[in-house]
């Protein structure tokens, strides 16, 4: 029972992390049909910005609790600034181009943004442990757990519920679904599609930044941070179905729980399990478990 509870909590915690970073990726793909490789850069920039300011504020003797505000602010600032610059400055001019070209452009942007991180923050890692230290630890199922890690589950739930409410209970959700369903039809109905694209890209970038900013206190924030996360995010999105928020949630849960199970019961296959799940889904359901239905145009 002890082990079961631990696996469940570990799995949920890792799933939450996966969901936060992959939700932005899948939203951007769902609405804009862009496979955004530079999503990893939003994550890295979120982590760096949060770690930098948490460290600075701590050095200035300000309360550690401010770290939580910095995390939210870092995600928003990174998402708005980078999202706006990239969407308006580059992607906007490529929407009529082939999707593969856009993927290559985002890959190029990813490399550029990684280098800018090196120029801006240097090669030394940043530490921003203060928010994690503030929340201390609790014992659950015979294992000491840091409360900060557990709050990740709450943040992911908040993001998931927020996305669901936005899509299903607001006028914005109707507009987004219309654009997802048929872009041309949306335009003919008077929807300002370029504006929807810009907001969607910024929203996705904020989620990517939030993932990095929230994880920053638990890691050594170092160059190359975004590379690992983009691989995992792709795995989640492929399993869940490209463009589906529910798919990203289920994909995260499947991968997170299976990975936790592997770590506890058969650590030798931990590395393999994430990609095995992806391969199996691709074989039997290439469009992913929850890919949105595609309309057939006549």
């Amino acid at each position: 029972m002890e082990t079961f509870l631990t696996i469940l909590l570990d799995g949920l915690q890792f799933s939450s992390y996966l969901f936060i970073v992959s939700a932005g990726l899948t939203i951007i793909f769902g609405v804009m049909k862009i496979l955004n490789v530079c999503h990893g850069s939003f994550y890295a920039w979120g982590a760096y910005t949060a770690a930098f300011f948490i460290g600075k504020f701590s050095d200035m003797g300000l309360p550690d609790a401010l770290g939580f505000l910095i995390i939210i602010a870092a995600a928003i600032v990174v998402g708005v600034v980078l999202g706006l610059i990239i969407e308006q400055g580059i992607l906007k001019h490529m929407y009529h181009r082939d999707e593969v070209l856009i993927v290559l452009a985002t890959f190029g942007l990813f490399l550029v943004l990684e280098d800018i991180i090196l120029i801006a923050f240097g090669t030394d890692p940043y530490f921003a442990y203060q928010p994690m230290a503030l929340l201390e630890s609790v014992e659950m199922g015979g294992v000491i757990r840091d409360v900060y890690g557990l709050t990740l589950i709450g943040v992911a739930t908040f993001v998931a519920v927020g996305c669901w409410l936005l899509l299903n209970k607001t006028k914005w959700g109707v507009i987004l679904k219309a654009v997802i369903f048929d872009r041309e039809m949306g335009i003919s109905m008077g929807i300002n599609v370029p504006f929807v694209y810009t907001l969607t890209f910024i929203g996705g970038a904020i989620l990517g930044g939030l993932g990095g900013a929230y994880i920053a206190p638990t890691i050594s924030v170092a160059p190359g941070l975004g590379t690992e996360v983009i691989v995992l995010s792709f795995a989640v999105v492929v399993v869940g179905g490209m463009g589906s928020i529910a798919g990203a949630a289920i994909g995260s849960l499947i991968i997170g729980l299976l990975r936790a199970l592997a770590v506890h019961e058969l650590p030798q296959v931990e590395l393999f399990v994430v990609f095995a799940v992806m391969a199996i889904v691709l074989v039997f359901r290439p469009e992913g478990l929850f890919a949105p239905a595609k309309p057939r145009k006549i």
């Binding site: 000491i144 190359g224 506890h264 650590p267």
Partner: protein, 430 residues
């Protein structure tokens, strides 16, 4: 007749010029040494940058003749060395291509560096193919000189076997009643070799201690260890062995500290020394740490002129005490100077290799004997200590430091590490 004499004289002069011109090369005023190290990625801050700083500092001092005796002569065989800094990131394939480029197009005189065992493993046959004098500074896999004889390639520090045999010996001395142990190591050559050597040594010297079957091998540079820390916490094993390094090491320490892992378990970190100065109070007390030899925090109090010079100069330039990688790169550059001083700045790669092969020299913190792998692999002492935060000075220190001679923790010439450990470490002189 006169014409014949003139013709003869001219002919003789021409022959002499050709003969002597080919036979006597000019001593060089300058040489170029390529120094690859991790300048980007998670390994850069804790490992690659200190390593590069150590190399640059020592090369600069050699150029100025500013090293303490007996190395206070100017230059590398009199030549001033310019350093080409290279990023080691990108994996083995990229590094092989970069190495070929350095040798074939940029015509460097020597290559000194490399941290990753994966890169070293990929490069070793290429070094021999291109016949380029090369010194591996830090990478740890024992396989480099055990799998094939090398002529142009050297490594000036001990390999991973020494780190893990010494760790097991230290554990035996400190915790003779230990009943079980487990490990968390990165899932590639370095992590797997490290765990294998530690586990095999424990089986030999502490047969009463059993290894857990839930030892962890997370992907390298993954940075998230929540599930692994839970699994290690639930594991009944009393001790956790880890060869984590770079950003992975620091992330693991953050996450495991927050979850009190090392309040209940003994932690043995073979590369923990690289985090000691950087993490300050965030490094838990009571961790057993190594520095992959007698380097960094383990030798901070070693009072020799060379070590004092190294520590003081590094601290003055970079504002922090030198960690293991700084020492390891520094001593590899020093080895290049010794080879050039002996063979001359105009020496061929063969002559440089002959000059370094099998020698014993004093480095900044220890004596290096190039006695394994046909005189190409260094043997040095290896040690461990226990972390403690010194509140008075606001820095980490190590207590209970113990060093084991190289002949105690490394196999004798001609014997492979695994065979040696499995055979009961015969010939070990402890």
């Amino acid at each position: 007749m006169t014409k014949s004499i003139i013709a003869g004289a001219v002919g003789l002069a021409a022959i002499s010029a050709i003969t002597f011109g080919a036979g006597v090369a000019q001593a060089k005023d300058s040489i170029t040494i390529a120094v690859p190290s991790f300048l980007t990625g998670g390994a850069a801050g804790p490992f690659g940058i200190p390593a590069m700083n150590g190399a640059k500092m020592v090369a600069d001092a050699i150029n100025k003749g500013a090293l303490p005796a007996p190395y206070n002569t100017k230059g590398f065989g009199g030549a001033v060395a310019s350093i080409i800094e290279l990023d080691e990131g990108g994996g083995g394939t990229k590094q092989v291509a970069e190495y070929r480029n350095l040798v074939e197009k940029r015509n460097v005189d020597a290559v000194v560096g490399y941290i990753s065992s994966g890169n070293c493993q990929a490069l070793a046959p290429v070094v021999e193919e291109l016949k380029q004098f090369t010194i591996f500074a830090t990478c740890g896999t024992p396989r480099i000189f055990e799998e094939a004889p090398r002529k142009y390639l050297f490594r000036t520090m001990g390999h991973a076997t020494a780190d893990n045999v010494a760790a097991a010996m230290y554990v035996k001395e400190k915790f003779p009643n230990l009943s079980s142990y487990t490990g968390i190591n990165q899932n590639y050559a370095w992590g797997q070799d490290s765990w294998r050597d530690f586990d095999l040594t424990m089986k030999q010297i502490m047969p009463g201690a059993t290894a857990s079957d839930k030892f962890q091998f997370p992907k390298v540079f993954v940075g998230q260890y929540g599930s692994e820390i839970s699994a290690l916490s639930l594991d009944k094993a009393e001790l956790v062995h880890s060869s984590f390094w770079g950003g992975d090491l620091e992330s693991f320490i953050f996450q495991s500290s927050a979850r009190g892992l090392f309040k209940n378990k003994i932690g043995v970190m073979t590369v923990g020394g690289t985090a000691a100065y950087r993490l300050g109070k965030k490094l838990p007390n009571g961790l057993i740490i190594g520095a992959r030899g007698p380097y960094g925090i383990l030798v901070k109090d070693r009072d020799t002129p060379l070590n004092k010079w190294f520590i003081e100069t590094y601290k003055n330039i970079y504002g922090i005490y030198p960690s293991g990688p700084a020492y390891q790169y520094g001593q590899a550059i020093l080895a290049a100077k010794i080879a050039y001083d002996k063979a001359g700045s105009d020496a061929t790669d063969e002559q440089l290799a002959d000059a370094l092969r099998g020698i014993t020299f004093e480095s900044f913190s220890t004596t290096i004997e190039m006695s394994l792998g046909g005189g190409h692999q260094a043997v040095t002492e290896n040690g461990y200590g226990v972390t403690k935060y010194d509140d008075e000075n606001g820095e980490n220190v190590v207590t209970d430091v113990k060093f084991y001679p190289g002949s105690c923790v490394m196999p004798p010439e001609g014997v492979e590490s695994v065979q040696w450990i499995n055979g009961g470490m015969k010939g070990a002189k402890c």
